[in-house]
């Protein structure tokens, strides 16, 4: 059985202009030890998915449909106290802005020990600090820096500390929301290596949220491409990268700046952000799509299975 199965999840936000349908009909599943990357531009709903899994949606958000089955129970049906038993103990998160995720007035080791103590009433403070020490070893922070304050850490070290905090209660699923976005390439490479390493070693499920498609290609087994609140392509990393089917995936891949290819001038037309308050019934990418015809903007696109491990939401393949 899959560890996590998200079925037809829809989430929206009440805004002054109306109900904004941020995530619509998203389904995916993860077996134990698997890693999934969610890729898309800002505002496509990838962070909203992460927050719904954690039960941390803001006040003005509402889940309008679907299920989040984790170890067989629907997380959306749990009460606030029940979800607290799952959060961090079973599902932990590496937050986006590592520089702001730590409390500046507490020592780093104490903050991580606090997470352990909050979830395990039977552990003494010394034992918790001992655990922190071994966690720091896993993420590669020297033990003599444990008692430092966050401001004494570099950006990369803060990110490592955040990863240690996510690992602190031995979760079976970790959601990493843009963990390397604010870091430079060298530090990014180190953090990605650390994430890949603990993920394989501790056999943890990973959902990796990023707008950087190459980073996801590097870390994940499967990948979901998101556009305007919907998954538009989903499959095994190799399948999606070898034969990208959805036009949006193709644009994403084409606009990635690499060092390997010969130099090419890229065409950039970011286009309008689709209206998510009154979304079109047709394909949401049709306005930007070079291959779209009149039917695309009228008919609701359907999933097309390309192979058992690869599918795309585009009506051109019918």
């Amino acid at each position: 059985m899959a560890l996590l199965a998200v079925e037809n999840l829809s989430v929206g936000y009440h805004t002054r202009k109306g109900f904004l349908k941020s995530v619509q009909g998203v389904s995916f599943s993860l077996a134990e030890g698997e890693s999934l990357g969610l890729v898309g531009e800002s505002g496509c709903g990838k962070t909203t998915i992460g927050m719904s899994l954690m039960g941390l949606l803001p006040e003005n958000a509402a889940v309008t449909g679907g299920k989040i089955l984790f170890e067989g129970t629907d997380l959306l049906q749990l009460s606030k106290t029940e979800i607290r038993q799952v959060r961090w103990k079973k599902i932990a998160m590496i937050f986006q802005a590592a520089m702001n995720a730590l409390n500046p007035v507490h020592r780093v080791s104490e903050q991580i020990a606090e997470a352990i103590l909050a979830h395990h009433a039977d552990i003494s403070e010394e034992a918790a600090l001992k655990q922190v020490e071994s966690l720091f070893q896993v993420v590669g922070i020297p033990p003599d820096r444990m008692r430092d304050y966050p401001h004494q850490y570099s950006g990369g070290m803060k990110q490592r500390a955040i990863i240690a905090m996510a690992l602190s209660c031995n979760p079976s699923l970790i959601i990493a929301d843009e963990p390397t976005t604010a870091l430079d390439v060298i530090v990014q490479d180190q953090i990605l290596t650390a994430i890949k390493d603990f993920q394989k070693r501790l056999n943890i499920c990973l959902i990796f949220i990023s707008h950087d498609i190459a980073v996801v290609a590097d870390v994940c087994d499967s990948i979901g491409i998101m556009f305007a609140g919907q998954l538009v392509e989903y499959g095994n990393v190799k399948d999606v990268f070898d034969t990208p089917m959805h036009p949006y995936t193709q644009t994403l891949l084409a606009s990635y700046l690499t060092l390997d290819k010969d130099f090419v001038q890229l065409n950039s037309n970011p286009g309008k952000i689709p209206d998510l308050i009154n979304p079109t019934a047709g394909c949401r990418f049709s306005e930007r799509c070079a291959l779209a015809d009149a039917a695309c903007s009228l008919n609701t696109p359907e999933w097309v299975e390309i192979s058992p491990t690869h599918k795309a939401l585009c009506s051109r393949f019918k």
């Binding site: 531009e41 800002s42 570099s154 950006g155 604010a182 870091l183 430079d184 390439v185 060298i186 530090v187 990014q188 490479d189 990605l192 707008h211 950087d212 498609i213 190459a214 980073v215 290609a217 590097d218 990393v237 190799k238 990268f241 070898d242 034969t243 990208p244 036009p247 193709q250 644009t251 994403l252 891949l253 084409a254 606009s255 990635y256 700046l257 690499t258 060092l259 390997d260 290819k261 130099f263 090419v264 890229l266 950039s268 037309n269 970011p270 952000i273 070079a290 291959l291």
Partner: protein, 281 residues
């Protein structure tokens, strides 16, 4: 000094050390060497890339060139003038020719100013034209960064715009004085990949149209390669390699440049053919 007709910016053995703040708890001040005898030059009309990791001194170099910092030693010529000692009226004249685009458009624009107020502010500071010509200049500037029709945007505020639009407003604000030289400090690090490319294309259009020289500061060699004619790689306050962009990528000499190239994320699988295919369609 080299011929200012070909060389717009010239750094000669520039050093800069920052003092940490002292207090009774932290003990005596420590010097942090940001730049150590840095020398290079930027040619008129080129886009010059300065690549390095966080803390390597790349932003300090950019800030020195627009006189937001003063070097401890060394010489720095911009557009034929030594700017290390520049003051008063000459400094104000200098500021008109040199502009900066900052990293984070969420913080570099005043949230209380409308687009028109933000973009026209440099013109007012430098006393350029009357209100009608100022309006025209703002319009032209917004048009040049691809924000059209500009009049629709005049009375919008930063919070009503996306990150890409905000950064374009910041670029319009830098371009409105028609500067000779612009420092762009990681202008796309807060933006998505597709929007980043859009910004790069705007910068290279501006270079062609207005013959502006750019210093492009980045931590991504791939971005520098896409945009720049020449690149300098900076590491711990020292320039380790300078040369034409393509040469540096294809044939890096310094171990640090090689490490930068190694660290750049790449696709595990052979996707080259798909990219060529999708571009054709």
């Amino acid at each position: 000094m080299k011929d200012p007709n070909t060389v717009i910016v010239q750094l000669e053995r520039i050093s800069k050390t920052f003092q940490t703040r002292t207090s009774f708890l932290t003990g005596p001040p420590k010097g942090v060497v940001a730049l150590n005898r840095v020398s290079f030059e930027i040619l008129r009309g080129e886009i010059f890339g300065l690549v390095g990791e966080s803390g390597s001194g790349k932003t300090t170099t950019g800030r020195l060139m627009v006189k937001l910092e003063t070097p401890d030693s060394g010489k720095l010529w911009v557009d034929g003038n030594d700017i290390t000692q520049i003051k008063g009226r000459n400094l104000k004249k200098f500021r008109r020719k040199v502009q900066m685009i900052f990293q984070d458009p969420y913080q570099s624009l005043n949230p209380y100013l409308s687009v028109f107020e933000s973009v026209s502010e440099p013109l007012i500071v430098h006393n350029v034209g009357d209100s009608k010509t100022r309006k025209d200049r703002v319009r032209q500037s917004l048009h040049a960064v691809g924000l059209s029709p500009p009049d629709d945007l005049f009375y919008r505020y930063p919070h009503q715009m996306s990150g890409g639009q905000r950064q374009r407003i910041a670029i319009a604000r830098a371009m409105v004085l028609e500067p000779e030289f612009v420092v762009a400090d990681e202008p796309t690090s807060m933006l998505d990949a597709s929007i980043a490319i859009h910004i790069f294309n705007i910068l290279s259009e501006l270079r062609k149209k207005f013959k502006v020289t750019f210093l492009f500061i980045t931590h991504s060699l791939a971005a520098a390669r896409y945009l720049c004619d020449r690149i300098a790689v900076i590491y711990k306050g020292e320039i380790v390699e300078t040369g034409p962009a393509e040469d540096i990528i294809q044939n890096p000499q310094h171990p640090y440049t090689q490490a930068l190239i190694q660290a750049h994320p790449r696709f595990r699988h052979a996707i080259k053919r798909n990219i060529t295919r999708s571009r054709r369609t």
